[in-house]
Amino acid sequence: MRAKKIIEYMRQELGPDVLVVSAPRDRRVFINIRAEALRKAVEALKRKYPALRFMTISTVDCGLHFEFLHHFHVDGVVITLRSVKPKEENLLESIADIVPAANFIEREIAELFGIKVMNHPKMRSLILTEDWAEDKRPLRKPLRGILPPQARRVAESLISMGCVAPISRFIERRREAAGLPKTPPFAFTDEENMKELHGIIKEVSLSEKVGFDWEKKRLRYR
């Protein structure tokens, strides 16, 4: 019952910024939120529950993104705010001004993952030596998705063109010389067909799973 009330309140306060909620037990609540709404969510909790106790922040390097789990405790219920940020952004908004106890764990995250914690009141070394190399953070993995190197070009080509073997000028010329159209009647020869294919790919989250950047038309990792 308590969990349900917390969820209802957070939905009301955050609206569409709440993405998914679950309460596997009455005293456990998971709320997935948009990363941009993190501070708003913490402020809302603090406002409603003055006895809110900050527990910790868990950070998970998922290869292509960081998952941040902000854990709180209120009135016997553990609440976890889950937010996700692309690794390229490399940012976490500090909540230390709202809940001062977050100060140390945010410094730890900054150090061990090399994540920039924005607006932290006093960012300085906590565990590692001051001269620790920026590019050798102990808990940080390389930017990497689920595809092995050999599959990356195939996936890029499949997603961007709907075809795994892009055609060369030479082949185009030879096709024409043989009386064939320059390219076969592939979807990429028609804008509407490509819109359809890209719509399907986005809808089934294929591009998201493999980490495809639609603007650059390539994978976010090589």
Binding site: A165, P184, I201
Partner: protein, 290 residues
């Protein structure tokens, strides 16, 4: 007239158009009408796409099937990989109504729907079952006097009947109509190594491709007859990579459609056979003389 929607796939039209050219010449000669599938996409390729996202693979594949269904035609593939992907999608959707619903829920957002009304066939099956051996035999005007080894390709063994040799037998019989002598070398069923090439080049070349080529050459084969474009790439580029390891083999590859076209009297120039990356000139000389 026998009529099919032609699914060209990616590799054949983009990397080895001589196979497409030869196929079109052969279809015309034997009276098989092939209708191009406008707006088609990759089948999608059967190795990675299924592992990444099964729903995505099913929907993209079903979209291709829906294009053929809109034309009211069964689909015919030239490529073994496309054959397997489309055949398996078709069977999944026909037999699992929940999958069909799930896939159509997505396709319907784009004005498409697949009802499961069409069949998927490999060109080998179409030639054998719809056109018939006699008709093909009639079209052979220039029997080819060469000794060849067959490489059927793993996906050709996939068969709904459970008889995995059904299509390889058809392929062998059609090949023998061209006048060639077929050299049995005992490793026909061994994979060429194309899929393992993506993971372990050494294994792929020395434990898959090399034993096959060795046995083919020992059996006196002057060329390899294939139907799968991926296997063709493996044989052609694999021999180049083996040379870098000090292993010298120069056995040309020819697609069964190209072989048929030559035996139907088309010249190697007509079908642009020089587009092959392998030592095809030696084979052309042998077939056509200097």
């Amino acid at each position: 007239m026998v009529k099919y929607a032609l699914f060209l796939g990616c590799l054949i039209p983009m990397r080895m158009p001589s196979v497409e050219i030869a196929s079109r010449r052969v279809f015309e000669r034997i009276g098989l009408e092939s209708v191009d599938l406008k707006g088609y996409t990759c089948c999608p390729e059967p190795v990675f796409s299924r592992l990444i996202d099964e729903t995505g693979q099913l929907v993209i594949s079903a979209r291709n099937l829906a294009l053929a269904e809109e034309l009211g035609l069964d689909i015919m593939t030239l490529c073994n990989g496309c054959y397997e992907t489309l055949l398996e999608t078709n069977e999944t959707l026909k037999n699992k109504s929940d999958e069909m619903l799930r896939v159509n829920r997505i396709l319907e957002n784009y004005g498409k729907k697949y009802r499961g009304l069409i069949k998927v066939k490999h060109a080998i099956e179409v030639l054998y079952e719809d056109i018939g051996i006699e008709k093909i035999r009639e079209c052979v005007t220039k029997p080819l006097k060469i000794r060849v080894a067959m490489h059927y390709g793993c996906h050709l063994y996939r068969d709904l009947s459970g008889d995995i040799m059904r299509k390889p037998r058809m392929m062998k019989e059609i090949t023998s109509l061209t006048g060639v002598e077929i050299a049995d070398y005992g490793l026909e069923r061994l994979c060429c190594g194309y899929p393992s090439m993506q993971v372990d080049e050494e294994f792929s070349l020395t434990h898959r491709l090399l034993p096959k080529i060795k046995r083919m050459v020992e059996a006196g084969a002057e060329a390899v007859v294939l139907t799968c474009p991926a296997c063709t790439i493996q044989f052609e580029t694999g021999q180049v990579l083996l040379r870098k390891r000090g292993i010298q083999y120069e056995i040309p590859c020819i697609n069964i459609m190209e072989l048929l076209a030559l035996s139907f009297g088309f010249s190697s120039r007509d079908i642009h056979l020089d587009l092959h990356r392998g030592p095809i000139l030696r084979l052309i000389k042998k077939v056509e003389g200097d």
